[in-house]
Amino acid sequence: MTDCSNVEMRELLPEYLHDALGPASRGRVEAHLAACSPCREELATLRLARAVLSSERTPAFDAAAIVRALPRPSTPHAVPSAASPASSPPMAVVRPSVRRSSTMLRIAAAVTFISLGAISVAVTRAYFGGAPSGGDSAIVALSPDTPAVAAVLPGTAPGTGERAQAGLTLHASWRELDDASLESLMGALDDLEAAPLADPETTPGGRALDGALSGS
């Protein structure tokens, strides 16, 4: 038997089968069925198919176990006022994720701030030379290889000076300097004020200190 040419009516048959049509559409379909043998046969086919499919064994499941396994709602939400689910879906409440986003932003800002601070300290140290290892360190211009340094800093042999680095270096034994040496050193440091500190070995201040220490 050929199919009915009324596509609209044929498309409505599954909904008619499930009683999902409004009164008007249902009336139209029933009127059409009364006059259309192919559609009556198609509806019978659909009804048989549904009966067969519905009669299949439903696999066993434990509804209580499913409910027990469900995640608990983190924060109970107030039940919204009576409204259709489509117009006001209760699932639209997303406050927990907003709160999570705010916390993550704060953490990210703190990490960024700390990172910038650390980078600033590192750049400053790289620019001005080695960092003091403690409050008792002395600042000595010139390389530790300089004999004058060894003379001023007792116990520091040339080439083996503590924290030996080119440029400004620190030494923990400044307390052992006598008054004259300290005075001479401070005077030399005063002359260094205008010297660029990034390259102390070649600065005039550095040479002046060298000369001052050597001449003392």
Binding site: H18, L53, S55, F61, I66, P71, P73, P76
Partner: protein, 184 residues
């Protein structure tokens, strides 16, 4: 469904979800009792009869675990079917990776029909089972969702992951083939 089964059984899914979010565990029970049977049958039809209870439970756990992602644009049933289908396919892929047979769906369907053949009293129903069994897996899935679950083409497209037009074509091809088998 009838109202005398349980108070609130006729409440819309959205209302029950809201009640569950407010701490009403009974609402979750109603939702599970309402949708689990059809989800279980759908899982079985896709070849997931073995371990269907686990798949059904996983479906609900995932659905309830991500309710914030569910905006209500589709029905809860469509959403559950979509999740269930994904779980079945994931499990099938995992089995395929273990070099299991790739005929899981047809194998399970045949087993199911064989097991039920003895219960069939009418020849028409037996013929219909054969007709449905002859459909391609996609045709069978779409035909089932349309005829047995009463889903629209839009809902079927959402579940299967295709277009409404493709769902319509699969349905009509399936219906035509079923008719041909019945008239053979």
């Amino acid at each position: 469904m009838t109202a005398e089964i349980s108070p609130g059984i006729e409440a819309p899914d959205g209302d029950l979800i809201a009640r569950w979010r407010a701490g009403d565990e009974r609402a979750a029970t109603l939702l599970v009792e309402r949708h689990a049977p059809s989800v279980a049958r759908y899982v079985a039809s896709l070849g997931g009869r073995d371990g269907a209870d686990e798949l059904v439970q996983d479906t609900f756990v995932r659905a309830f675990g991500s309710l914030d992602a569910f905006r209500g644009e589709s029905s809860l049933r469509t959403w559950l079917f979509t999740i269930a289908r994904r779980l079945v396919l994931d499990r099938r892929r995992a089995r395929r990776r273990r070099r299991d047979a790739d005929e899981l769906q047809d194998h399970d369907a045949i087993t199911e029909y064989d097991a039920l053949d003895g219960l069939l009293a009418q020849e028409a129903e037996a013929t219909m089972r054969v007709a449905i069994q002859r459909l391609t897996p996609t045709q069978r899935e779409v035909f089932r969702l349309r005829v047995n679950e009463g889903m629209s083409y839009k809902e079927i497209a959402d579940v299967v992951g295709t277009t409404e037009g493709a769902a319509r074509v699969h349905y009509h091809n399936a219906l035509r083939q079923v008719k041909e088998t019945l008239h053979d």
